[in-house]
């Protein structure tokens, strides 16, 4: 039906593998990303350096980690606008706790707990009280940022107590030549990919996004599942915050500002559909990668900074457009 904007599920395929692949947005975004990388390797002599690749992968790791959680939220037809503030809150919490002399483990636990708490409030209001995700998480965006200011008294924190070195090594260091946040991303992405496909929880969130009423009637614990995706998304934001603080080496209450739109952009460019029922872990990662490659390339190419926004915006649209056009032939 040419008139309908139905998007194919990344999770299940009919027909042949090949035509399924061609109809898959993730595939096209991956192609676009690889193409961009190849072009850039020839166009600049700094893109394909190991240092730059190290930077690029590390930079998108933070967004991609949160995008994994966001994918789960979007698959249930929800949205989480509070992730940027959650990153700020969790970042402030770990800094304040470690600054006060506690160990890194206590710091991480406190940061993740605070992030999960934000997710839990979102989840309860959305799943059990039945409010619109957009309103709830927009409210929490404001609340989370404000609490971060209250907790840090709006100071920049850059001394992380006795375990400070460990924190900097965790977020800023590398293992086998790969930045630690990237390694964390790889582990989380594989885990989430597996969970989406092979666990009950994974199948249920797709069902909730596909037809919430039907899922409820067939005994899927819809509320519990809906609540859980926001908790997961909060947790991912917390993990990203810990790593980002370690990388930056300092925290202000501005940490993560505006990240919600970046994360959602990555998720959606990676094939998730905001109407629910469609999305994948690999898509989230590849979406984040494409956006970062574009940003990086504009700087390497020395594009006038006023024009950079035009390029980033247009490429996001083009990446998704490319996929639409390639598909319109056979529907």
């Amino acid at each position: 039906m040419t008139s309908l904007t139905s998007h194919d599920s990344g999770a299940e395929q009919t027909h042949t593998r090949w035509s399924g692949l061609l109809a898959n947005q993730v595939f096209w975004v991956a192609v676009a990303t690889v193409l961009a990388c190849i072009v850039l390797s020839f166009a600049t002599n700094s893109f394909a350096t190991s240092q730059n690749l190290f930077n690029v992968t590390r930079n998108f790791a933070f967004v991609a980690i949160v995008a994994l959680g966001m994918t789960a939220v979007i698959v249930t037809a929800g949205i989480d606008l509070s992730v940027g503030s959650t990153i700020g809150l969790a970042g402030v919490v770990i800094s304040v706790v470690m600054h006060a002399g506690f160990s890194i483990w206590i710091g991480i636990a406190a940061a993740l707990l605070s992030a999960v708490a934000v997710g839990l409030v979102n989840g309860i209001l959305i799943a059990y009280v039945g409010m619109q995700p957009f309103v709830v998480t927009l409210g929490m965006l404001s609340v989370g940022r404000s609490l971060a200011m209250v907790i840090s008294q709006n100071r920049t924190i850059f001394e992380f107590g006795p375990d400070g070195g460990k924190l900097l090594a965790l977020g800023g260091g590398s293992t086998f030549g790969i930045a630690n946040p990237v390694l964390v991303l790889i582990v989380l992405a594989l885990a989430m990919g597996f969970i989406f496909r092979f666990t009950r929880w994974g199948r249920h969130i797709f069902a909730v996004g596909g037809n919430e009423r039907a899922a409820n009637l067939t005994g899927v614990p819809v509320r519990r599942r809906k609540c859980s995706v926001y908790v997961l998304c909060g947790l991912m934001a917390g993990i990203a915050a810990v790593l980002e603080v370690g990388w930056l080496g300092a925290v202000t209450t501005g940490l993560g500002t505006g990240d919600e739109l970046r994360v959602i952009a990555a998720t959606v460019v990676g094939g998730a559909n905001l109407m629910g029922g469609v999305g994948s872990a690999f898509g989230a990662v590849i979406g984040a990668a494409l956006i970062e490659v574009i940003r990086n390339s504009l700087i390497l190419l020395g594009v006038n900074s006023f024009w950079q926004g035009t390029f980033v915006g247009s490429f996001i649209i083009l990446a998704v457009l490319f996929n639409r056009l390639s598909r319109s032939g056979n529907d």
Binding site: T14, G209, N211, A214
Partner: protein, 246 residues
């Protein structure tokens, strides 16, 4: 003893009284045909038994025990399976995933269990074959024809050992060939001692398989008698209101 009893069930939606003091009972191995005009309240009865709504008034008993179903899964845990009128399918999932929705098969050891797609596909294929439906387990429900969708919804009730099966117009969209299969299926259920409520607007179907027929009009039960003691003409009269009470 009746497997299912409704005592004085009423249900309001705001100002609308969809059900008014309905009393009904069902024995094991009995097929009840439930008929009535559009909007008479048939689906509302099904939804109350299925744990989809709580009744505004009245009591439900399953095998003599009073029950209150807060969620659909409560009803299922009591052995009640339902084919909903709108089928309750997720368009973005495959036929097999829809059949097993809410009770996915898993394999593995201890807490490390993964979804067992293989068995789910092969078992769904068997269920569809049993219903003589040409539905492919791996197809997305979004692309299916109306009858294929209905086959998926019916296949669900075959997964567990139900005591009561509620079917809300299960034959509305399916072809002659499969109607016969569904009716046979209902007979097989009865022979296994399962109680069935069949909602249908098709007089011949009801008179073929039902033991008893109950007629609803404007939220009230206006008749409840053995099929042998009734006739299609009488039931039609009751539905349209030409006859007041049987």
């Amino acid at each position: 003893m009746a497997v299912l009893e409704l005592n004085g069930i009423s249900k309001h939606f705001g100002a609308i009284r969809a059900l008014n003091n309905v009393t009904l009972s069902l024995e094991a191995g009995e097929v009840l045909g439930l008929m009535g005009d559009n909007g008479a309240g048939k689906s509302t009865i099904v939804k109350i038994i299925a744990g989809n709504f709580l009744p505004s008034e009245g009591e439900i008993r399953v095998e003599g025990r009073p029950v209150r179903f807060h969620r659909p899964i409560d009803a299922r845990d009591n052995g009640i399976e339902v084919v909903y009128q709108d089928l309750a399918l997720c368009d973005n999932l495959t036929a097999a995933a829809n059949v097993y929705l809410g009770r996915e098969l898993r394999r593995g050891i201890g807490p490390f269990k993964i979804i067992d797609y293989k068995t789910m596909y092969s078992r769904s294929r068997e269920l569809f074959a049993e219903l003589k439906s040409e539905t492919r387990p791996r197809d997305l429900v979004r692309q299916m024809s109306g009858g294929q969708r209905q086959a998926v919804a019916i296949a669900r009730t075959r997964l567990s050992q139900a005591r009561i099966v509620l079917m809300d117009e299960p034959t509305a969209a399916i072809s002659v060939r499969q109607v016969a299969e569904v009716l046979q299926l209902i007979e097989r259920l009865r022979d296994q001692g399962i109680a069935v409520i069949l909602i249908s607007h098709r007089m011949p179907d009801v008179f073929t398989v039902a033991d008893r027929v109950a007629v609803m009009r404007r939220g009230r039960k206006v008749a409840d008698k053995r099929v042998a003691d009734s006739s299609p003409e009488e039931v039609t009269g009751l539905i349209t209101g030409a006859l007041e009470v049987a």
